[in-house]
């Protein structure tokens, strides 16, 4: 390991065992014990149950030099959060070794341990202590924290009466005043109003410019990553697939975010969808291109594919199909093939989107795959003062603005 690195991650893997063998009640445990005992004496009592394993991290290794701000990118479920949990000592790796040379503070959630019945003041102390601060340290920074949070007036009100904005501001203010050597941050900036978000980003970059603070930062916000981080790593399916300067890392990640889902035939005598793929290269250029493969025991005349674009939270944003396209969709009958649907310059903000896909012919629907793939869309348009998506929604309509005199 490099001598000057503050974090060394060497071959870290994390396995979760899912489902069948996890005893959730004592009865299951006892029953399993009894079966095991029975198996000892009599002939094997039934087949042994399968053990389903899931590797959230596989052989991840990297080094972080002191003072580096490292962005971590990757799709949902790529292992980013598990990696942060291992580094934060919340969960133990199944194999491998991590060495950290400094005081670590991790923010995996805003306001961990806030108690609704306690006042703002009491929660500052409680949360500060949970994040690893000493009482004296909190007292010293108390005024600064309160000023940053902008909730002075409600300091002695139980936080259950706070608006969600006040709650988040207070919680972040505490976190922003931690002075660890290593700060681990998981997407917590995705909360709060735009102005406060900016203030937080400024605080983070102010902290990191001082040079001896090392930060690991997970985010889907590539603009934020670009402005704060110097280096990046890209995780995919539990593995580290790229490490390098943040711009190269983002470019590599955005290029190959191809999302594909394949399906087996439910039965031989029914038309069905065989695959759904979102083209990554098109995405990197700001276009959405969806390819839907189908197979049918009889010719579909014409094959009709329907696509519904869903928001990150699963709400439909826009849907269309070949029937709606009318004269724009005149093709010969087919028993199999790939229907490609594309939108150039999709009027969407950068976010994660999901798709539902349907298959039919001119008359009726035969198959549907609901919420089958998700993909990250990166808008080519960048708005420096953009409010958070939960307040403006994912659709980026191009308004024409004008001022009319009275």
């Amino acid at each position: 390991m490099a001598a000057d690195s503050i974090i060394s991650v060497e071959g870290v893997s994390k396995r979760y065992v899912i489902g069948h063998l996890v005893d959730t009640t004592l009865r299951d445990r006892l029953a399993r014990g009894a079966r095991a005992a029975a198996a000892w004496f009599g002939p094997r009592a039934g087949p042994s149950r399968s053990r389903e394993e899931f590797w959230a991290l596989r052989e991840v290794s990297f080094e972080v030099p002191r003072g580096q701000v490292l962005g971590i990118v990757g799709r949902n479920g790529a292992g980013k959060s598990t990696l942060l949990k291992v580094l934060s000592r919340i969960t133990e790796p199944t194999a491998g070794r991590v060495t950290m040379r400094g005081r670590v503070a991790s923010l995996l959630e805003v306001g961990t341990g806030f108690h609704p019945e306690l006042t703002g003041r009491e929660n500052v102390y409680l949360n500060g202590a949970i994040l690893g601060m000493y009482r004296a340290e909190i007292t010293r920074k108390f005024d600064e924290i309160v000023a940053f949070s902008e909730v002075e007036r409600f300091l002695d009100t139980p936080v259950k009466h706070y608006s969600s904005g006040m709650y988040v501001r207070l919680a972040f203010a505490i976190a922003a005043h931690l002075e660890p050597d290593i700060l681990i941050v998981d997407e917590v900036l995705a909360v709060g109003d735009a102005q406060f978000q900016k203030k937080c980003l400024n605080k983070v970059s102010e902290v990191t410019r001082s040079g001896d603070r090392t930060v690991l930062f997970v985010s889907h916000n590539s603009a934020a990553l670009q402005s704060i981080c110097s280096a990046g790593i890209w995780m995919n399916q539990g593995k580290l697939v790229f490490q390098g300067p943040i711009n190269d890392c983002l470019a590599a990640y955005l290029q190959t975010g191809s999302q594909r889902a394949d399906f087996a035939a439910p039965s031989k005598d029914k038309p069905h969808i065989t695959s759904v793929e979102v083209d990554a290269r098109a995405l990197a250029q700001g276009r959405i291109e969806v390819a839907v493969g189908f197979k049918s025991p009889f010719p579909l005349s014409p094959p009709v594919v329907g696509i519904t674009l869903l928001s990150k939270l699963g709400q439909p944003i826009s849907g269309s199909n070949g029937r709606m396209a009318g004269a724009a969709w005149v093709v010969p009958p087919a028993q199999s093939g790939v229907v490609v649907a594309a939108i150039d310059a999709a009027p969407l903000h950068s976010d994660t989107y999901r798709l539902s896909v349907y298959l039919g012919d001119a008359a009726m629907d035969y198959d549907q795959k609901l919420d089958v793939v998700d993909f990250d869309f990166i808008s080519p348009r960048f708005y420096p003062q953009m409010p958070p998506l939960q307040s403006i929604g994912p659709v980026d309509l191009q308004w024409r603005w004008s001022l009319r005199p009275d």
């Binding site: 001598a3 979760y16 996890v22 005893d23 959730t24 009640t25 004592l26 009865r27 445990r29 002191r66 949990k85 291992v86 580094l87 934060s88 000592r89 919340i90 969960t91 133990e92 790796p93 199944t94 194999a95 491998g96 070794r97 991590v98 060495t99 950290m100 040379r101 400094g102 005081r103 670590v104 991790s106 995996l108 959630e109 961990t112 341990g113 108690h115 019945e117 306690l118 009491e122 102390y125 409680l126 202590a129 949970i130 994040l131 690893g132 601060m133 000493y134 009482r135 010293r140 920074k141 600064e144 002075e179 050597d181 102010e206 902290v207 001082s210 001896d212």
Partner: protein
């Protein structure tokens, strides 16, 4: 960013003072150091539980008094009047209350610590700190309720014309024994509950049984032949020691009982610590 005393500089030392190595199955060398480092958190967690305990109740801390008062009245009637048991020259209500004090301290600490990890699941899955803080912090609430009832005991005792003797000075030791006993058992139960939620139902059940097999409503003096058997219940020794402290005259000091209690509570605590430490590393995955 402008607090006058800066944090200690990281320095260029080869082995950083805060160096942490995370490895599968590696016993954390820093565990006890960490526990000390997070001592302020213990205080805040305790304070949180105490402050939240009687929020939004009308009677507030009065609730801590109602249960022992009602139980004392009932036990005095059942054991003292109906069964006509002897109290060894002590007013019967005082005998009952002196037995209830350690019993309630024990059960409150036991049920508090047993439920502690589950009720702090959110914390466990989101942030690191020595998990031992959680069951430890839950003892504070039990102690506060206990002190309130102890205050009641002093009033009742004075009303019966009895003034505290030097035996009182030894009371903190036996409070400690009761707490350690509850903590040891609580460590086992809380770690087991993380995986097997059954233990949520087992603990109240055990406490319910405990009321009958512990000498709360009667003095151990009335059952000389059963004495040794009773002592196998570790609470018996503590209750007798409390009575010796609080009632003073006429109460023999029973070494056998308290030795049993101390022995059992140390076994429970050491084995409980071992089991807790062993399971601790998987809490966040299982909870």
């Amino acid at each position: 960013m402008s607090g006058p005393p800066a944090p200690p500089p990281a320095g260029a030392a080869l082995r950083h003072p805060y160096e942490v190595v995370i490895e599968a199955g590696r016993p954390s060398l820093n565990y006890w150091v960490d526990l000390w480092r997070y001592r302020d958190l213990l205080g805040f967690l305790t304070l949180r539980d105490i402050k939240v305990r009687y929020k939004q109740t009308i009677l507030g801390v009065g609730w801590a008094l109602i249960q022992p008062v009602v139980t004392t009245v009932i036990f005095t009637f059942v054991f003292g009047k109906l069964a006509g048991m002897s109290a060894g020259g002590v007013p019967y209500p005082l005998l009952v209350l002196a037995g209830l004090l350690p019993w309630q301290l024990f059960t409150a600490a036991l049920s508090g610590s047993s439920a502690s990890l589950i009720s702090n699941a959110q914390l466990i899955s989101k942030v690191y700190f020595p998990r031992l803080m959680i069951p430890l912090a839950s003892l504070g609430v039990a102690l506060i309720d206990f002190l309130v009832v102890l205050g009641l005991y002093v009033c009742v005792s004075l009303w019966f014309g009895r003034v505290p003797s030097w035996h009182w000075a030894l009371l903190p030791i036996f409070i400690g024994v009761a707490l350690v006993l509850a903590f040891g058992a609580g460590l086992w139960f809380t770690a087991l509950t993380v995986k097997y939620r059954d233990f949520r139902y087992i603990v109240p059940f055990l406490i319910q049984i405990g009321v009958f097999i512990s000498p709360i409503g009667f003095s151990t003096g009335v059952l000389p032949t059963w004495r040794k058997l009773l002592d196998l219940n570790p609470v018996t020794g503590v209750i007798d020691a409390f009575r010796w402290c609080l009632l003073s005259d006429g109460q023999p000091f029973d070494e056998h009982g308290i030795v049993c209690s101390v022995l059992i509570s140390s076994i429970l605590t050491f084995s409980g610590l071992w089991y807790f430490r062993k399971m601790e590393r998987t809490f966040a995955d299982v909870i």
